[in-house]
Symmetry: C2
Subunit: 466 residues, 2 copies
């Protein structure tokens, strides 16, 4: 590891960590959500972690790593659950968690360093009556740079769609991995070059995001006799144009009762639930709509709950998105999950059909979102895992019924996404990371241009076999 | 007119106007948009106008009019274009224009007296970074009470749907027409009792509306070689979930050039136009989207226009909704218009087909809105009017192709709307206006319970023949 010694010398004065336990910890994310990734990635580890506090330090690290041919994997908070932030070829984990200042809040816009935690950004925006449009359920731990580079959407997507949509990211400042790193400012169509690229073609140092009006969202849990009713209610609610909600998630029994331990007292075991965030001034209209819909039991409303009832309850968004699975995993570590799109317009029928078909092997969990201008839903069904083969079979059952799966049991961009080469991101990698040192192994199009995405094979990064 | 003398005596101390010219002026609205209504309603006139400044005065007027059996027609700013505010049986015009205070602005909510002008409400809300969700293009003249009682939607409906949707009106304070008028506070499902009831079953004295984030909207005009392209662009834009716009209106050539006189210098005569309001921070993303779409010429952007260019230009929203027709009428007083719904999902095909079918007899004008959770469009085509028969024929041509017409050539609630009895509003009228003195002649269900809506007959109020 001679290069490493030279690299360390070059980086003198920076915060370098080489304690093996800490390095191992900072080399891991939530990959263990997947039994497949757990098997594949458990030994992955960086050589050192460098924690930077400024863009100038980022440039210094990249310049030195380029000179010494050392791979660099950028890390925000490491909450990704696809193994996105795991350094498959070792080298440096570039930790941005301390580059976390909110730089500027103006009307409709916030500018922050990439390592800023999303809830911190909202704390800074809220005095102006504003908040971020979208956040993952890891709002209180994840960084804005990690969300842009590795996330897709979440709470708020029912109003704004996802990060992939024009207008949900305004501007990115990016440092390239070259002999002399350049600073680029991307906006408009250029944002796609680095957003959701897992840091494979640049390090984002600064993020400019749109803001929207902030409210003291009311957490609401509604109960239903069947999952189908919960799903239909969610769909009808999503289509209420004048009712402002930030989150609509139907979750099939017995998941809410069995895994939402703090909320268990409000939920019967046979009850399917819709988890909601409603604007406070919309509560009257929401109640009127729910009683007209019929069959809706209000189990919990944070605006009417006693302090005693609220004691120790997590916010509703921490029951939703990947937190549903997390709460399941805490009770039953053998569980895993899928990520599915149920395409409009028969998304509800498809989701209900699959839920009935798979029964308790795959309790349904939907997330309603705006998608290409329509209200439809993603699904994150919990899977009672038996084997990799059966998991593949369940994926096929979904795809055969016209419901694409964004496979969360793969660590590559392509396999977890559109299953095709992203020409824009590949071209930008050629320009911004000519040596291929940024987060190696995550972009198949770079590692193996001839890979056949139509085959049933999953890609295996050679670097993993070291 | 003995009763009137007694009534006047009862109202002593209030602002009573009986100057015939002023009374005639305050008895009229924009009914003359329709050649049919112009013929039917031109002689309509109240006996006196009473201008009130408080709810207590409203109660005094209603109590006295009830005692003397004098009809009362409430008036906001009189900008309705269905003859809604015209006193078909004479009597009192109750003018609320001076009851116009904005009472309270809080997070997400504004409370105002019913006669407050919408732009005044926004002036009061804007220091808190907020504005109304929806406004008609008569924003700078119309009252909030008149909008709730007589309007349907407008600018902002692309994000929030219409007034009929749960959540777009929060609370109404209403005075009944009884021996002893009662004050009612309506919310939730009860709002429907009086919203869009033309003041036939109560006088709204106070309105509570939701607010949303306020921006310095950028006025944009984009040019296209054909109306079909303008309509397709508008539809694609409406489906961009991350692009925040407040207004999307494609308008067929030669209307923009011929009738938008102040903007004429930016527009070729053969150019169809999309009139847009875009959030300032969304302009980069909007431009990226427009150039990816292709064939879009940016004719005008208020954020880049010189002061000289902007001089004397009306805001884009005063080119849209019923202002498109108004600008046409100013150039060619023989024009009129229709109001059409093109139902999702083939709204664009339907609108383009009808535009091509009717050619220059009915230049197309669409307004994109959210409707039952989908993005679709209303149309307000300009009609080069020849006869009432041909107008009926054009309406039939639309309806035969699955495009319902909200006939703006009728003054009754039912004929301009759903063409059926609204049982809720009728029941509330029985309760709140037992003598039927409020805005007589506008609710067929009250005047003639046996009226056959499926017949081809239009309803003629007997009171008109006085
Ligand atoms: C319980 C749970 C719930 C979740 N819910 C959601 C959800 O609702 N929606 C959603 O989209 N995701 C969700 N995720 C995934 C993840 O939490 C989010 O995407 C989160 O925003 C990632 O942020 P992070 O700071 O943890 O990024 P990390 O995990 O540190 O990094 C994510 C990826 O981005 C790269 N990266 C990080 N920072 C930068 C940078 N500055 N420049 C370039 N590349 C960078 C990393 O290399 C990695 O590839 C969830 C995960 C868990 C475990
Ligand atoms: C150029 C132009 C553009 C327009 N654009 C739009 C548009 O975009 N969207 C739209 O919806 N409409 C539109 N309209 C119609 C109209 O301007 C609006 O509906 C407006 O909000 C009406 O407000 P007003 O104060 O003028 O009401 P008025 O015309 O005074 O009254 C409207 C109706 O409500 C009743 N009313 C008024 N105040 C009260 C009250 N306090 N209590 C009970 N009943 C009451 C009246 O009796 C009448 O029946 C347009 C009209 C014109 C002429």
């Amino acid at each position: 590891m001679n290069d490493l010694a030279a690299l360390k010398a070059d980086l003198e004065g920076l915060a370098i960590e080489d304690n093996p336990q800490i390095v191992r910890q900072k080399s891991r994310d939530f990959f263990w959500y997947s039994p497949v990734l757990k098997r594949q990635l458990d030994e992955v580890c960086a050589d050192i972690v460098v924690t930077v506090t400024s863009e100038a330090e980022v440039i210094r690290v990249l310049r030195a790593c380029y000179a010494h041919d050392v791979p660099v994997t950028t890390r925000g908070a490491g909450t990704g659950n696809y193994g996105q932030a795991m350094p498959l070829s070792g080298g440096v984990v570039l930790n941005l968690a301390d580059m976390n200042k909110v730089l500027e809040v103006s009307t409709g816009v916030v500018r922050a360093e990439a390592g800023a935690i999303m809830s911190t950004i909202d704390d800074a925006a809220r005095p102006s009556g504003q908040e971020l449009r979208l956040h993952p359920s890891t709002y209180r731990t994840a960084t804005i740079g990690g969300f842009v580079a590795g996330g897709s959407g979440g709470v708020g997507s029912i109003n704004w769609g996802g990060l992939r949509d024009f207008g949900n990211i305004l501007r990115l400042r990016v440092v390239t991995m070259e002999a002399e790193p350049r600073i680029l400012e991307l906006s408009g169509a250029d944002l796609h070059k680095v957003s959701h690229a897992y840091g494979t073609n640049g390090v984002i140092t600064e993020v400019t995001m749109p803001l929207t009006a902030a409210y003291d969202w009311v957490d609401v849990l509604t109960g239903f006799d069947s999952f189908a009713e919960a799903a239909r209610f969610a769909d009808a609610l999503a289509n209420q144009d004048g009712l402002l909600l930030k989150e609509i998630a139907p979750i099939a029994a017995p998941v809410p009762h069995d895994y939402f331990l703090r909320h268990q007292k409000f939920i019967r075991r046979d009850q399917s639930v819709c988890a909601l965030m409603v604007a406070p001034f919309a509560m009257d209209a929401f109640s009127a709509f729910a009683s007209r819909f019929g069959g809706v039991e209000i189990l919990y409303r944070s605006d009417l709950a006693s302090d005693e009832d609220k004691q120790g309850l997590p916010p509703v968004y921490e029951l939703a998105w990947n937190h549903t699975t997390l709460r399941g995993l805490r009770v039953d570590p053998t569980l895993t999950y899928l990520q599915v799109l149920y395409p409009f317009p028969d998304h509800v029928e498809k989701a209900v059909h699959l839920a009935e078909l798979l029964g308790d092997e795959a309790p349904a969990h939907l997330e309603f979102v705006r998608f290409d201008g329509r209200n439809t839903c993603f699904g994150l069904p919990i899977i009672r895992y038996s084997s990799e083969d059966r998991l593949e079979e369940i994926i096929r059952i979904h795809e055969d019924r016209g419901c694409p799966v964004f496979n969360p049991h793969c660590y590559t961009l392509e396999e977890g996404g559109m299953k095709q080469t992203d020409a824009v991101q590949l071209a930008f990698k050629k320009e911004a990371d000519p040596k291929g040192l940024l987060n190696p192994g995550k972009m198949i199009a770079w590692e193996n241009p001839d890979f056949d995405f139509s085959s049933d094979q999953t890609y295996l990064f050679p670097g993993l076999a070291r």
